[in-house]
């Protein structure tokens, strides 16, 4: 998880955000016909009478899409229930049928949750199956939807299976909204039902934003933000919208319920479709499709095959290591939690395991580092057989070519540097360099630092890098505090 600064809203106001996330399922074919579900084909090449809504054509639902939907439902801890498809009627050229087939009163998945890395729980109202619409390109007016002269429509995407994941209006900060969307993406990738690429539109976010006075539990008029194409763009759009609404309230006005289009380049949103068209979809049950009734066996099989999901993986690593939530989230995101747990299980020190993974294994490919060799390396470091510097060097070689950390250490001549040996060396060096030592113990902060560097450098040269720099610094500080060495004392 990337570090970020939560933008502060004007004093006394808080955010209320609900997100609708549309995810394209990575099936081979569309939801109701055998046309290819493929991104980037030539326009209007994946079309047939069913997805064009030609008279007399009949839809048959894709069994794989329904299975993926239920898998996602269980991953979101939803109830998976019998469902009925419905028609959502509207006139808009992106749907040639003049209705979108979706789920309305009886969705497949409802009442779930996603737990964020910091423990915040996002309620999921529903995650229903529906078909995607065609893609419109607006010509004229600089490509802006509300200034277009005409539009060109490509129906390759019409009928592609989607899941719409609707959160409850419970997101209270922009950081939580960001963590939720990246958490959803991690879940989708873990179960493999979508490639979840925001830049290709296979994961799209609409944000319902309202504000309220801090401490109130009312839900005020919300605006729905569309055309958000990255997590960063979502954060900007939400912040802009919250400030716009607060400005309205503070100047005695109130926002209108409306859909607004986010313009990433301009950094602002503009009003889109008006409310009256939005609210009158005249849903009715789809007469051409029969109900979807999952069996208890099917749901049990989905649960049994469910891979470990990010939230559970984070919880396991926190339990084993007591590391901070954000560090654990980073390791899980990098897929290093299994390695960490295996090494800790083999007796390696949990703190050291987490530290080495976090700082010294920030690489794309760590497949050559086995749990056994990594655990052995950490044990060598914590028992003092290797200094921190040496351990990092051995780890780098494990990443490149794998192998046994003991043999690597032996080949490089990394031998145990015992504490008393190091102390002797330090004392000899102090005796040989009395002027430098006086500047170390009596000098100003800058002098002291410079001389510490001098002594550590000398020790490193004498030991060919085997000494632990921090141990030398500790010894110098300790000797410097002793009255026998003429220091001001403690």
């Amino acid at each position: 998880m990337s570090w970020s600064i939560e933008p502060t809203l004007p004093e006394g106001w808080e955010l209320v955000v609900g997100l609708e996330v549309h995810v394209e399922l990575s099936t081979a074919t569309k939801l109701f016909c055998g046309c290819a579900n493929r991104f980037g084909s030539e326009p209007n090449t994946n079309i047939c009478p069913v997805c064009l809504g030609l008279p007399g054509s009949l839809p048959v639902i894709n069994g794989t899409a329904v299975k993926y939907a239920m898998q996602l439902g269980r991953a979101l801890l939803c109830d998976v229930k019998p469902a009925v498809m419905a028609r959502k009627n509207y006139f808009y050229p992106d749907m040639p049928k003049d209705y979108q087939t979706t789920q309305y009163e009886q969705p497949t998945n409802s009442d779930g949750e996603v737990v964020l890395p910091d423990g915040f729980t996002v309620g999921i109202e529903r995650a229903h199956i529906e078909e995607d619409t065609g893609k419109s390109t607006h010509i004229g007016g600089g490509g802006r939807i509300n200034e277009a002269i005409y539009s060109l429509v490509d129906y390759n995407r019409a009928g592609v299976p989607l899941i719409e994941i609707v959160s409850r209006p419970c997101l209270d900060t922009i950081d939580h909204a960001k963590a939720y969307v990246s958490g959803l993406r991690d879940i989708l990738l873990a179960i493999g039902v979508s490639d979840a690429r925001m830049e290709e539109g296979s994961m799209r976010v609409d944000a319902n934003v309202s504000v309220r006075p801090v401490g109130s539990d009312e839900l005020r008029t919300r605006c729905e933000l569309k055309n958000i194409n990255s997590i960063r763009s979502m954060a900007r759009a939400i912040e802009y919208e919250a400030r716009r609404q607060i400005d309205l309230y503070t100047s005695g006005e109130r926002p209108r319920q409306e859909t607004r289009h986010w313009d990433e380049a301009a950094g602002r949103s503009t009003p889109g479709r008006s409310k009256e068209n939005l609210d009158d979809y005249r849903f009715f049950q789809e007469p051409d499709l029969v109900p979807l009734v999952p069996t208890a066996e099917e749901i049990a099989a989905i649960d049994a095959a469910m891979p470990a999901l990010p939230a559970a993986r984070r919880a396991a690593l926190v339990e084993a290591s007591s590391a901070d939530a954000d560090v654990v989230a980073t390791l899980v995101e990098r897929g290093q939690d299994a390695l960490a747990l295996a090494a800790i299980g083999r007796g390696a020190d949990a703190d050291k395991v987490v530290t080495r993974l976090r700082h010294d294994l920030a690489v794309d490919d760590f497949s050559k580092v086995s749990a056994e060799s990594f655990a052995a390396l950490i044990v060598m470091e914590t028992s003092g057989d290797l200094t921190a510097t040496q351990a990092k060097q051995v780890l780098a070689e494990l990443v490149d070519s794998g192998g046994d950390p003991r043999s690597i250490a032996a080949e490089r001549g990394f031998e145990a540097m015992h504490d008393d040996e190091l102390a002797d060396l330090v004392d000899r060096l102090i005796a040989d360099n009395p002027d430098e030592w006086q500047r170390f113990v009596g000098g100003h902060e800058g002098d002291r630092k410079k001389m510490q560097g001098f002594f550590i450098g000398q020790i490193m040269r004498a030991t060919k890098g085997q000494a632990d720099g921090r141990a030398v610094a500790d010894l110098l500080a300790q000797r410097g505090r002793s009255p026998a060495n003429g220091s001001p004392g403690t």
């Binding site: 019998p82 060109l152 429509v153 029969v290």
Partner: protein, 100 residues
């Protein structure tokens, strides 16, 4: 005239369905739709407390298609039937700002 449906409701529904109706047609459909609704209201006289809601008339559930790609149709044939095509796409009026 029945109070099952008002003239304004008929106008609203016609507008949603993009139907342009003249004053005589609005009157005629208001009367006809009211009769349809009157007929449906007969159900209200029955005791249906023990009848589960029916979502579908067919005794069928879970009819699935295998996720296998089938040939699509030739876009030239389809686009030739469009009122207006450009760059292998359907050309349509601007979608916002138009009267519904």
């Amino acid at each position: 005239m029945s109070d099952r449906i008002t003239r304004d409701e008929v106008v609203h529904v016609a507008r949603l369905a993009r139907l342009e109706l003249g004053p005589d047609e609005i009157d005629a459909f208001t009367e006809q739709l009211a009769r349809v609704l009157e007929h449906a209201a007969d159900i209200e006289s029955l005791d249906v407390d023990d009848v589960p809601p029916t979502s579908h008339p067919l005794p069928l559930v879970n009819v699935f298609r295998t996720d296998e790609v089938r040939a699509s149709i030739d876009r030239r044939e389809v686009l030739a039937q469009a009122p207006w095509a450009e760059s292998d796409m359907f050309r349509v009026p601007p979608v916002l700002g138009e009267e519904p």
